[in-house]
Symmetry: C2
Subunit: 239 residues, 2 copies
Amino acid sequence: MNGYHAHAEATDLAALAGLLADDTRASFCLALLDGRAWTATELARHAGVAASTATGHLNLLVAGGLLAEERQGRHRYVRLANAGTAELIESLACLVPPSSSGRTAPRSLSAASRRQAMARARTCYDHLAGALGVSIADAMTERGLLDWDQGLALTPSGASWLARLDITLPPAARRLPVRSCLDWTERRPHLAGSAGAALCAHAFSAGWITRIGSGRAVMLTDAGRSALHRHLGIPREPG
Amino acid sequence: MNGYHAHAEATDLAALAGLLADDTRASFCLALLDGRAWTATELARHAGVAASTATGHLNLLVAGGLLAEERQGRHRYVRLANAGTAELIESLACLVPPSSSGRTAPRSLSAASRRQAMARARTCYDHLAGALGVSIADAMTERGLLDWDQGLALTPSGASWLARLDITLPPAARRLPVRSCLDWTERRPHLAGSAGAALCAHAFSAGWITRIGSGRAVMLTDAGRSALHRHLGIPREPG
DNA sequence: CGGATACTTCGGCGGGCACCGAAGTTTCCG
DNA sequence: CGGAAACTTCGGTGCCCGCCGAAGTATCCG
C-alpha cells in the first residue's frame, strides 16, 4: 500500500472499520448502543448466530478496543468501551444512506408496536433519543437553556437549570458536556454529551422513565410526564 | 441476522463500514482528506494498485455515497462527498489504537522531511491541521475568540475578529460553525467546522500559506507568519 | 487521421473469513 | 456430587472479495 513510504495509516483505519464491517458484529454494536452490558449468549441470540461464532466476534471487538469486557462467574459481560466508541457507531449509523434497504414495514402487530415504542422514546448509548429526546432538546432550546448559534453550548441559565435538578456534570474532562446527536427516526438532533447522559440518568433514578422489556425502548411514566411539563413546559402528550 | 424481525440496520451499518474496511479504499479516503479532487490514476498510483482495481473501488465508494465524482473529458475526478464523510473518516482515524502498527520511523531523508512538513502544517479536509493548526486554535482560545467551557463555541469577539478579516460564515446551515478536530500528530484539538474551513480558505487566498508539492502539506509564507503574528500574536517560529 | 493517455470490462486466481457443530472447560445450583 | 448452563477451542466447509493483466472504449492532441 501507499507505494514507497507507507504511512500504515490506511491499514489501521481499514482494520478498525473492518471490525464494524460484518453483519453480526454490527448487530452486536447496535445492540450495545443501549449502554448496558450484554452477555455473549444474549448477543448471539440477538444476532441469530451460534455461541461459538459470537465468541470469535467478541474476541475481535475486545481486542480492537471497541468493547470492554467483564467476567462474572460463567458469564462474559461486554459493553461499549467508551463514549467515543458509541459516538463513532452513531455517526456511522447517521451516515447510512436512507434509501439503502427499503426500510421494510413491520410484518406483525407486535413488531409494529415495538417499533412505535422505539420511535417514541429510547436510550441512545447513555442519553435519550426518539421523539422524547428531540422534544426535550427542543424545549431546552426554546427556554434558552441551549444555544445553537455558534456550536452547541449550554447557556448559563441551562447550567443553573441542571443544578436545580441536582444534576452535576463531571469535571470538564475529555468528553464534551453537550453534543448534538442526530436522531435517525426523527431526523432531528437530540441532546448527547455528558449533560445528556446525566439528564438521562436522572430521569431513570427519579422514575420519569422506565425500560420496556429488554431493548432500548423506554416508557415515560406519569411522574415523568408531569416533571417534564413542570421543568420544561412540555405538553402532556409528547407523542 | 437479528433472528425474526430484522431491523436491517445492522446490515446497512456493516455495508457502510465495509467501504472503509479495505486497505486500498482507506488509502483513497485518507488521500482525499486533503479536500481536493483526485483522478483515478493518481489514486491508483498513490495506493500502489492497478488502474482496473482502482476503478472497482471508486465505483463502490461513489455508489455508497462516500465519494462524489465529476467527469471531465477522459478524467474521472473524485472527492469526498461532503463534510460529514470527512468527519466520519477523521473520527475513525482518531479512534485508531495508537500502538497498533508501530509508527515506523521513516527510512529515507526525503521521507523524513516530508513527514516533518506534514507535522508542521497541512490541510485536514478543508481546514488547517498540524502544529500550525493547533497553534492557531490555541492562540484563538487564549485571546478569548473561542470558548471551550461548554462545548466549543465562537465567542462574540471571535465572530467580530473573523469579520475584521473579511471572513463571512455561510448562513447557519447543517454544518456547525466551529468544531474540534483531534490532530493525530499533535494529539491536541485544532479548529474545524465551517469557520475553520473559511479561515483556511482565507489563508490560501491571502497568500499566508501555499501547497508543498502534491500532498496535504502546506508551507507558511513570510506574509503568513507576520499576519499570524499581527492578528493572533503567534510568535515568528511556530515550529 | 493516428498515437498516446485515461478509464472500463472481463475472466481467472488466490486468500481470508464467517459459519457451524462437536467436544472440552469452568461455573452454578440443587 | 451430578446435571445444566455459559463459554471456548478446533476442524472443516464454502463463499466472498481483492488482485491482476489483457482487451476494449472514449478522449485528447499533434
